[in-house]
Amino acid sequence: MNKSLSFSAALSAAVSALFVAPVTSVKAEESNAWKLDSAVMYYGETDRVQAVEVIVGGKKEFEDGHFLDLKFTFDTLTGASATGAVAQPNIQSFTRPSGNGRYTVSANETPLDDTFKDTRVQLNAQWTQPLKGEYTLSTGAHLSKEYDYLSLGINAGLAREFNQKNTTVSAGLSLGQDTITPEGGLPIPLYEMPHYINSPNGQPNNTEGSSSDFDASRDRSSDSKQIVDLLFGVTQVINRRFITQFNYSYSNVDGYQTDPFKVVSVVDENGVTLNNIYESRPDKRQKNSVYAQGKYHLSKSVVDVSYRYFWDDWGIKSNSIDAKYWMPMGKGYLEPHIRYYQQDEADFYQPFVTRQPEVDSNVSADYRIGKLTGLTLGLSYGFPLNNGHEISFRAELYRQKVTDPGVNNIGVINQLDIFPDVDAVIFQTNYSF
């Protein structure tokens, strides 16, 4: 039975091969229309950042194997973001990063900057085409613009297929240039955050500081970084049901990588904040990762498992495991998803400091480069519509548990939760046509 099946399959493949030219030309005509894929996503953290992101992507085949991919992304962010300052048993007041006014934080609360607001537009274009032999070339560019941030990049990749297209070896290069121009300029690293308030009518209110204090804390209006990324990959079909991928990626980032909106609290021996200083990160970073993915087709469902190990020269190491289980459900499918992430902190991460750091040293209290774990649980449901389009829905919960990297909490900080969890929900709808 199996033999006759594979014989008939071989025969039909041979017949197709005989008529390969007319078959592909008919197919090319059919597939020359743009294929569009779109998504709207809401990301919301409890009491913190809210984001809405819209993506519309289009793919068109011009001739056999020549593809143009275009992607438009729009997102908007509002809400509050942790500043890095440590919680205190009393009300705290902070100068806004722009220098325009201040915000206050309740006693025992993690300081959040409520002026977090941005809108971003991104365009990606990618051209892929076969070359002579078994090679495929892909080149692309991206542009991303926010109010205070511009990112430009180009990339190129070459892939070669071996062994009846069962093995693909690829290499890629990406070059990027990012420029940050925050309102109010870039603060001087490790400089004390000034007390300065502009009253709503535009007249400076000098009771807690002066504009010259604020200006003195700034040394330039913008800075940039250059990014060189390399990616090497091997894709291997194991058998009819099993496909694997192995990647190594390297990234060299050179330039301004400090977050100008983050500060570090300097506390006394009783844990009481004396002042807050602007954080400082190294201007060089080399990132590496190895990534392995396997997809296995069971009788009807598909298991997708991937693992990444990441390390960099800031001392950060992380493990990510991601698993999805695709299963048919009626006319459509259901896909549960789980992702676990664990990260060790950067060498210069400190939730607070007890003395002013030395000149040119690095320190950051940004929990995102601290010790943390992340757990994502999600579920997707999708189905085809009668017009041939497809719609899907996704809901996920994401929880970050920030942990103490082993600092000796002192004084009043002992009674406070300075490593609060961050909870977020993700809702998304996709539409393909």
Binding site: T167, S289, D304, S306, R308, W311, Q428
Partner: protein, 74 residues
Amino acid sequence: MSFQVRKLLLVIVVLHVSACSSLGVKPWERNLLAKKQMALTSSPINAALDDHIYFSKEASSGGRGFAGGGCGCN
């Protein structure tokens, strides 16, 4: 650690190049692999959204693709 990982990677690549000829399928055995849900990145849009979220909230990036940058969110 990084040296060990590099060594492991080298072994994987060498194993692939030497052993891949015995792995794989014939062109007419690709019916399951050709399904959309068997593509390594079955939804590029979801992958882009996820990459953006985790790039913004965690210190790691890259792996599946370029480590990149592209936004001021980190």
